[in-house]
């Protein structure tokens, strides 16, 4: 009797764990944003979103000391814990990249990860300083890559949102 209970417990824990594991590998997809019009320096948007972009630029600026060039284009929007944001970019083999995000308010902790054309996670260097985060890679192959931006510690930040800005540097 006791043995069968223990077995049941084991199976239930395994099933529960697997289900949650499977949820965690399939986070909620970002709202379909389709193709967005050019976002570089739109005056009105830049005014209202100056802080997250300044933060992203501040972080990216640090990489320019190492010869990286900052792309003029950027993306500014809102992120919440339930909706990670994913960007599709086309990278060139041999180039080095740093993908930078900045967010307000300042206590929002972001993470940045990179995935290849097949959706597989790419090993990256990381920089993390609360509301500023970056991931760096050397593109081994040319093609489409995905940059995944998420608010960390999802359960705590469940009801919170942040304004964020994304841009990247290359050399």
């Amino acid at each position: 009797m006791k043995k069968s209970y223990l077995l049941s417990i084991g199976i239930l824990v395994f099933i529960a764990g697997s289900a949650l594991q499977s949820q965690s590998t399939k986070p909620v997809a970002p709202a379909p944003t389709a193709t967005v019009a050019p976002t570089a320096s739109p005056d009105a948007a830049a005014e209202s979103n100056i802080d997250p972009r300044s933060k992203a630029l501040e972080l990216a600026g640090a990489f320019t000391n190492d010869g990286f060039k900052i792309r003029d284009g950027y993306f500014t929007g809102t992120i919440d814990a339930k909706k990670p944001q994913i960007f599709a970019l086309n990278l060139s083999a041999g180039n080095q990249y740093w993908f930078c995000v900045g967010a307000v308010p300042a206590d929002q902790k972001l993470t940045v990860s990179v995935y290849d054309e097949n959706g597989k996670k790419v090993d990256s260097e990381k920089y993390q300083d609360l509301s500023m985060a970056a991931a760096g890679i050397v593109a081994e192959n040319s093609g489409r890559y995905f940059v995944y931006v998420a608010l960390e510690d999802a359960p705590k930040a469940e009801a919170q949102k942040a304004e964020y800005s994304f841009l990247y540097t290359y050399k």
Binding site: Y5, S8, I9, L12, V13, A16, G17, L20, S24, K26, P27, A29, P30, A31, P32, T33, T35, V36, A37, P38, T39, A40, S41, P42, K69, I70, R71, D72, G73, Y74, F75, Q85, I86, F87, A88, L89, N90, L91, S92, A93, G94, N95, T111, Y115, N118, G119, K120, K121, N141, S142, G143, R144, F146, Y148, A150, A154, P155, F166, Y168, Y170
Partner: protein
């Protein structure tokens, strides 16, 4: 019995908590990849970014890729927008060649076409900055200024309800950039350098943008030609992710893009002046 249930719930919630905190997916689903954000200013690499990669494969003689000045006699706005894009790429080529005078010439040509398109007001200041950077041989600054100029042109177009032309500027810059890089790779082929020309996702994105243009613009002969050439190029570069493209394919890409650049720069009723 009730204790066992509590234990099950406790263990299950612990397992969940371990996974939920700080876990990032090991892979993305096709749905996530399809819904990824794409923007003209982030998704398409600048010619400068593209050229940075080819510079790692050797030392191209950039001077040989500088074009003779093009005086485009046309009133076709789609053609002017495409030509504007090719000029932006010419600016990046001049920067790679470290030819300050050529950068200034290209800057002047960009302003001239912008005037014809009625979008010169904001661009003139950019032209002055380009001249200043060129005077001081500030090549890194020029790289960023050229991209900023391209984006400013596109923003002005969008503000003036000419946003359909934005896609054509992007197309022109990409076509001239690919023509240049395929020319470099064609001269001294290596599988490693040819990897740079494997860009099916960019082509698919550009084709999607063309499909969103107003029907009248899509029927423009030059736009139709660009679309058809992009489709044929997409078919030959759509190799698996880690693969390169063959020498024959590189040659074919260069041939297609060179003819396209010529067509874009061809004046009404004759050859490029």
């Amino acid at each position: 019995m009730a204790d066992y249930r509590k234990l099950v719930l406790l263990l299950a919630s612990l397992a969940g908590a371990t996974v939920a905190f700080g876990a990032l997916p090991a892979s993305l689903t096709p749905a996530q990849m399809n819904a990824a954000i794409q923007t003209d200013t982030l998704t398409i690499p600048t010619p400068g970014e593209f050229f940075a990669a080819i510079n790692k494969q050797g030392k191209p003689n950039w001077t040989t890729f500088i074009r003779k000045p093009v005086i485009l006699a046309t009133t076709s706005r789609p053609q002017l927008a495409l030509e504007l894009g090719t000029l932006v790429a010419d600016g990046f080529i001049a920067v790679e060649a470290q030819d300050g005078q050529q950068v200034k010439n290209v800057g002047k040509d960009i302003i001239s076409i912008s005037k014809t398109l009625g979008i010169s007001q904001d661009i003139i200041n950019r032209g002055n900055t380009i001249n200043d950077f060129a005077e001081n041989n500030d090549w890194a600054g020029l790289n960023e200024e050229l991209e900023a100029t391209e984006n400013e042109v596109k923003l002005t177009m969008a503000k003036q309800k000419d946003s359909d032309l934005v896609t054509l500027v992007t197309l022109g810059a990409w076509i001239r950039g690919v023509q240049t890089v395929s020319g470099i790779v064609d001269k001294s082929y290596t599988p490693e350098s040819a990897k740079l020309l494997r860009q099916p996702a960019i082509i698919q994105y550009l084709l999607t943008m063309i499909d969103k243009l107003p029907p009248k613009l899509q029927e423009n002969a030059l736009v139709l030609r660009v679309k058809n050439d992009l489709k044929s190029t997409e078919a030959i570069v759509n190799t698996p992710f880690k693969d390169s493209v063959t020498a024959a394919t590189v040659h074919q890409i260069n041939d297609t893009m060179s003819k396209l650049v010529d067509a874009i720069s061809k004046s009404e009723g004759g050859a490029a002046k």
